[in-house]
Symmetry: C2
């Protein structure tokens, strides 16, 4: 954080906004990192159903590890649901272990911003996690409605802004493209 | 284009804006598509140097094909440079062949928006290409400054908006993360 004019490792990225491309960009980062022989850990909060990306990511292993912390079905985000809260909490423990293990060059916490926005996980715990993150780890946080404290703390923030989306025209999500 | 309430193939996506994540999201789409056994062709306009993503994409072949249409070095976009214009033109021919071949479910034309913005390729030719695109092909166009005509014509448009970027803080591009 001090040497502004040097090559620096371990940035914090935030991909937020209401447009398509946040999780997808994180997957692209994992693919690019693997191309440079870097190891990636992806933890997906809230997601539990089968996503197309998991299949091809398996082919890239052992460089990419992926775990889903969500319940079996995609459910409404609800901090009052004790199962959801427990699942997110367990996910955060696993994610913290992955970050601190220094086994990974890139750690992606997918949809974590939403868990903060809805109060499923407390914002301060994530900020604390950023403080203890080893400098060797590049950390990527995705999901809509990233809290301002996270934006302030991150090194790189992109807002994916929906200009036009086919779902609003009645087209449904398709395997291989949206999930 | 007619059946608005049915599962529909062959959308046109545009990823534009000044933020990080456009090419990266396109790579993530290719990874996700491969996970569903779909074939992807990626044509990269303007890019000619070695990008980390190429290495890992090779591991996913034969589902993902990638070609770079750029000159050997990253150069300033300049429509007055005849070599650059010829390279982009040749790229467009290859891309058109890929789209019309129906060998690919997903075709990504990376950085093509910039070639339009700088007049290296004429906008109308791309619009014509969209008109003859087979419905089976999902087409993704990336790059800053997408022309309004393309935004109007696309089904899905996301603007990647830079909120904060480390390069503006003097940090340089790093292999495996930015390229």
């Amino acid at each position: 954080m001090k040497e502004q004019n040097q090559k620096k490792t371990g940035l914090v990225h935030v991909y937020t906004g209401n447009g398509k491309g946040k999780t997808t960009a994180a997957l692209g980062l994992a693919l690019r990192a693997a191309g440079s022989n870097m190891r990636t850990y992806i933890g997906q909060f809230l997601k539990g159903r089968q996503y197309g990306e998991l299949e091809s990511i398996k082919q890239l292993s052992p460089l990419i590890t992926i775990e889903q912390y969500g319940l079996n079905a995609w459910v409404h985000v609800d901090k009052a649901n004790p199962n959801q809260k427990a699942a997110a909490r367990e996910g955060l423990i696993k994610a913290t272990e992955a970050i601190l293990s220094e086994k990974y060059d890139l750690v992606i916490l997918d949809e974590i911003n939403i868990t903060l926005f809805f109060g499923v996980l407390p914002e301060q715990e994530i900020l604390d996690l950023l403080d203890i993150k080893p400098d060797s780890v590049e950390l990527v946080l995705t999901g809509r409605n990233a809290p301002q404290s996270l934006i302030d703390r991150a090194d790189l923030v992109t807002e994916m802004k929906e200009i036009k989306h086919p779902f609003t025209q009645g087209i449904q999500a398709r395997q291989g493209i949206e999930f």
